[in-house]
Each structure stands twice: as structure tokens, then as C-alpha cells.
Amino acid sequence: MVEGMGEGARGVPLSGHVGFDSMPDQLVNKSVNHGFCFNILCVGETGLGKSTLMDTLFNTKFEGEPTQHNQPGVTLKSNTYELQESNVRLKLTVVNTVGFGDQINKEDSYKSIVEFIDAQFEAYLQEELKIKRTLHSYHDTRIHACLYFIAPTGHSLKSLDLVTMKKLDSKVNIIPIIAKSDAISKSELAKFKIKITSELVSNGVQIYQFPTDDESVAEINSTMNSHLPFAVVGSTEEVKIGNKMVKARQYPWGTVQVENETHCDFVKLREMLIRVNMEDLREQTHTRHYELYRRCKLEEMGFKDTDPDSKPFSLQETYEAKRNEFMGELQKKEEEMRQMFVQRVKEKEAELKEAEKELHEKFDRLKKLHQDEKKKLEEKKKSLDDEVNTFKQKKTAAELLQNQAQQAGGSTTLKRDKERKN
């Protein structure tokens, strides 16, 4: 029957050509006049050929020089380009993760990526909640596809990859690809793909599945799903093979042709990403990832679905009010914490002062004791000195007497006196 259409409709046959079969054309023409936009996020370590792959996919030279490896954190740089093919105008935005995987401590690497994706959702939500809004001319910056570049180690996923993909899988359509895959041999590649897929499954990472519900593309999409992750090679340089110029990478031992399906999966990626599923990627972003973000954000702000009879409040204002309230609460909490902190500091300070005072007192006491001791000792010393002096005096006096006696009597008497004295 007719999908998604309400109850109560009956099917009636038409007795002639009415003409509403032109509706898809009318819709497409409107979109052509409007132009399309598509936003790709490339996540991967520096040097995995992200920029080159974008250049190869879209057959053009995007700006930018290769980034340095000494970035202190992960930043996201986005560039928008206007492309045109026949009558289709595409506003393509390519977002690159600069510095991903370069830091020594990579624990927070995923955070700036998540924040960026959320910021785009937030911007759209803000527009959607405005009272006077212009949704049909809004430049949609939400990320439609995330190409995750896996380093061609040939072994398994890095823990950074698993952690990052797990954080992103509920926010964006992830298409994992093996970068610079000409570094891996065919047999290793098969094993590598199996290992990656099983690791993703065992860690519960939801990657984007090409849709298989539409018969016209179900077959090709399900085949392609089994080829994930795509092993790609990018190149904008052309090499002459036979009588054609093809995009390739030339080595002394041979030439890797980018668009040769036996050499790499580049063609598959282009087919899936652009030629078959671009619209589905955009739709999934809007109906699944954005809706989830919106639902969580509104619930977080404390909104609930009101019953059908009540009037719709101005979502924008209440959203703003709730957000201010939320911020206000945060500020209050912050204030409280600060007060508490100040209080604690004061208390600690007081304690320390007390301790200091005690120490000073103790020191004073000890000092006094010490001084008293010193005084006593000095007195003792003095008295000893006095004794010594007295002794000396006596000695001198005795010697004097002896001398006098000697001069008067003779040396023996001195001896006898000495003996007598001893």
C-alpha cells in the first residue's frame, strides 16, 4: 500500500491521464534551483591522505597545505566549495581533523570532534526554534558523512580508533576506510578487513549501512556493505596506461591505478558515497541523528511533550528561558562551590595561623629556656673563672712568698716548704 500515508484513504482508479506523475520532476526542479549541500567530515591521523582523497573523489584541487605534526590538540578546519556538474550545483563542505593522533596523551582527542558535530546540530536547532525562521534558505552545516581513516597497519584497529568511533556512531554516519591501502598486500588486506569488522562488531560500533529497502539499489548496496571498510588509494597525478591518462601512483615496481577496482576500492567508495547514497546520507542525518540530538537536548532542558489540548508555548523563548535558568543554576552552583572553597581556605588559614602561633610560642619558650641555661652556665663559668683567678692569685702570692723566703733562707728550705705544702 502507500507508505506512510494515513488511514481512511481509499484507492481509486484513474480513467485517464491526470498529470501528477510530473510531481517528482517538479520536486527535483525545485531542488535544482535551490542547489544542494553536502558536508563530509574526515577523521584520521595526520598523513593518512585525507586531503588527497577528497581531491581525488571530487576531481579538483582543494586548498590547503599538509598540516604539521606538532598541534597541541585536535582542531577542526572546514572549507566550503561550490561544485557544479551539468545543472546540479553542490555546496560541498569538507571538515578536517587537524592534529588528530599527534598528541602524546590522546584521551581527549575525540572531544573536539563531538563538540563540532553537536555545534552544527545546535545551530540547526536554534534556527528551527526561532519564531521567525527561514529554514528553506538555511545553509545546513550538519555533517552528513564521516569518513574514518584507518591506518594501514594490517593488524587491527588502534584503541584511539575504537574509542573515537564509539563516541561518534550515534551522532553521524560513519564510513570506515583503510587509508593508503597500497601499503598492504591483497591477502593481508582481506584479513585486515575481517579483523576490523569483527572488532567493530564486538565493540558495538554502529557504522553506516547502505540502505537495502529500495529494490532498485538494494542489491548493489548490500554487496557494498560486505566490502566495508573500503581500502582506498588517492591520487591526483595522472599516468599514461595504454593510450589513456589515469589517476595513479607510480612505483618502481608497478603502478597503482586509483580507478581500477582490482587495485583498490576507490570506485566503490565514490559510487556509494556520491552516486548512490548521497541523498540517503543527508536524510539519515536529519531524521535520525539530528532528531536524537534534538530529543536529548530538549529533554535535558526539562521539556516534556504536552498533551494535545494545551497551547504550544513559544519553544524558542522557553528554551532560552530554560537555558538561562540552567546557566543560572550552574552559576549558582559555581558560586556555592567558590564560597565553600573560600570558606575552607579561610579555615585552613586560621588553623595554620594557630599552628604558627603555637610554634612561635614554643620557639619563644625554648629560646627563653636556652637563654636561662646559658645564663646559668655563664654564671657558673664566672664563678669558676673567679675560682681560677683566686687560685692564680694565691699561686702568685705563694710564689712571691717563696721567692722572698729563698732570698732570705736558701734552696733547701724551699724544698722543705714545698714538701710541706704538698
Partner: protein, 338 residues
């Protein structure tokens, strides 16, 4: 495929100049495949169209709808009651159909308004209609602001309101003016001269001119509205239409043999009026406008202009200060009259 177009294209430098920048390719990327992807998606999802018919009873509203959609889509055809009593007040009755043509599926809803203009005192007979239209906007808004909302919000908004003018040949009646003046602010109005086979060509042209003058004099903007022309090309096409409205139509679901062909028509003693013959009446123009060329545009104007205006009014109900801040002109605020 990886075919290079380089043999057919001019030299790269020339292309560069034409493109006006370094963004150029002469090897197929496949961006334009998105058109096919969109078409596929549209075919899978199908379309919705809600048309309202307004006019006194006996003006051929049901027949015209059946003629437009070449099947029994009007309420009368479906319910097949022998005699329909004219209701005491204006009623709103809608009926939906699933129709399909060359793989394109559409849910068509025809909204009938029996009782309009049929009373002795027709004051405020537009009110139930206005309310119905606003109720559909309200339903859509309610669903849109839900936290858990449907993937595809069911669209019951009235995309187009066909207003049937009786073929008096003179000028619009006060009821016509009142109705169109009020409703043109909230919905796309397509006025038609009903049962036009009672007017000669000269009478018809005179009548049309008079009607257009009166519409202009009363500031009534019917579809296609001048202010919503998107670009010069649009304006050119729409100007031609604006010079022809209101279309003088004749409806019929009966086929007759004319010159060896079976055609929809009305047979009289003095000849057979061929409905789809533009020398006889303007039904084909109406059909082309509503269905074959401007259907998407009619829906777009409903959703991005009429609905948005309703939403602004609604969300501003307790907050006129915010309205001024957003620069909403006064007349948009007060258009919500009942």
C-alpha cells in the same frame, strides 16, 4: 563510469573562465546522480495534496474535482446519497483517496464546504472555513514541536482553495469579495468562473477583466501571488497566468464521441462542449496549473509562507514585544481574524 569527456569539451582554460574559478572538472564525479536519488526517494514516499472547494451549491464543484482527477473523488460520488440537503450552517467534509499514476502515488484529500453562501443571511459563513484551515496549521505545529515527533509529519494543511464564482457576467458579489479578502491571507486561493458554458467569449473576457480589477481594488492576492515570485523566470511565467485568471471552467465526467474521438464533454442541442479543448473553456489551464506545473509550488507556498505566518502568530500570542523585535509587520499579526 570513468569515461573522460575531454574530447568533447573545450580547452580547460576556457572552461575555467566560464566557471569563474578553479573549481572545475572534466572527469565525471557523479554529483548529478543526486537528482535520480531524490526522484527515487520521492517515488517511494509518495505525495500528499489537500484541495478545498468553496462555492454555493449547484456550481459544479464535485463535477470539477472528478474531472480534474479523472475519477470519482468528490464526496458526493463516494457517498452517493440521492438527495443532499443543504445544511443550515457551513460544514466541512473531507474525503481522502490514494491515487497512482505511472508509479507516482498520491494521497489526495478533497475538502468540501457544503452550505457556504446558501443561507439567506451569509454573514460570517467564512468563519468555519477559516477555523478549519487554521486547525490544520495548528495540528501540524503541535506535532512539529513535540520532543518525540514523527519521521514524516502528516500534512493535512490546505494547499489550495478553489473558489467558485457564479457566472453572472457582471462583477464579484460582496460575499465573494469578503471571502477572498480574508482567506487569501491564510491560504492559496484559486478563483474560477464556474459553469462557464453560459458565457460567450466576449462576456467571459469582460467578466474576467472586471474580476481582476475588483481583486486589485480590494488588495486581494490570489495564487500565484506576485510577492512570492522567486526570480525573473518565475515572474514571467506567473505574469502570464495572472493575466488569465480567473479560469473559466466547465466540468464533466461524461465522454462523448467527437470527430471520431472520445472526449470529456457536455452535450447540448446546440453542440458539445469539449472540456479539455482550450478553445471552448479554460479547464486545461486550470489542470496544468494545479497539477502538472505548479503543484509543488503551491505546497511550498503553503508550508514556507502561510504555515510559517501562522506559526509566528501563534508563538507570539503572549508576546507582542518579541514580535516587534523580529520585525513582523502589524498586518500579519492582525490577519488572524475569525
Amino acid at each position: 563510469s570513468t569515461d573522460s569527456f575531454s574530447s568533447e569539451l573545450p580547452a580547460p582554460e576556457e572552461l575555467l573562465e566560464k566557471a569563474g574559478g578553479p573549481m572545475l572538472d572534466f572527469s565525471y564525479v557523479g554529483i548529478d546522480a543526486i537528482l535520480e536519488q531524490m526522484r527515487r526517494k520521492a517515488m517511494k514516499q509518495g505525495f500528499e495534496l489537500n484541495i478545498m472547494v468553496v462555492g454555493q451549491s449547484g456550481l459544479g464543484k464535485s463535477t470539477l474535482m472528478n474531472t480534474l482527477f479523472k475519477s470519482k473523488v468528490s464526496r458526493k460520488s463516494v457517498l452517493a446519497t440521492a438527495q443532499e440537503k443543504i445544511p443550515k450552517t457551513v460544514e466541512i467534509k473531507s474525503i481522502s483517496h490514494d491515487i497512482e499514476e505511472k508509479g507516482v502515488r498520491m494521497k489526495l484529500t478533497v475538502i468540501d464546504t457544503p452550505g457556504f453562501g446558501d443561507q439567506i443571511n451569509n454573514e460570517n459563513c467564512w468563519q468555519p472555513i477559516m477555523k478549519f484551515i487554521n486547525d490544520q496549521y495548528e495540528a501540524y505545529l503541535q506535532e512539529e514541536i513535540n520532543i518525540n515527533r514523527k519521521k514524516r509529519i502528516p500534512d493535512s494543511r490546505v494547499h489550495c482553495c478553489i473558489y467558485f464564482i457564479p457566472p453572472t457576467g457582471h462583477c464579484l458579489r460582496p460575499l465573494d469579495v469578503e471571502f477572498m479578502r480574508r482567506l487569501s491571507k491564510v491560504v492559496n486561493i484559486v478563483p474560477v468562473i464556474a459553469k462557464a458554458d453560459t458565457l460567450t467569449l466576449e462576456e467571459r473576457d469582460f467578466f474576467k477583466k472586471k474580476i481582476r480589477e475588483e481583486l486589485r481594488a480590494n488588495g486581494i492576492d490570489v495564487y500565484p501571488q506576485k510577492e512570492f515570485d522567486e526570480d525573473a523566470e518565475d515572474r514571467m511565467i506567473n505574469e502570464k497566468i495572472r493575466e488569465m485568471i480567473p479560469f473559466a471552467v466547465v466540468g464533466s465526467d461524461q465522454e462523448y464521441q467527437v470527430n471520431g474521438r472520445r472526449l470529456l464533454g457536455r452535450k447540448t442541442k446546440w453542440g458539445t462542449i469539449e472540456v479539455e479543448n482550450i478553445a471552448h473553456c479554460e479547464f486545461a489551464y486550470l489542470r496544468d496549473l494545479l497539477i502538472r506545473t505548479h503543484m509543488q509550488n503551491i505546497k511550498d507556498i503553503t508550508s514556507s509562507i502561510h504555515y510559517e505566518m501562522y506559526r509566528v502568530r501563534r508563538l507570539n500570542e503572549n508576546n507582542t514585544m518579541v514580535a516587534h523585535a523580529n520585525g513582523i509587520p502589524e498586518h500579519h499579526l492582525t490577519a488572524h481574524e475569525m
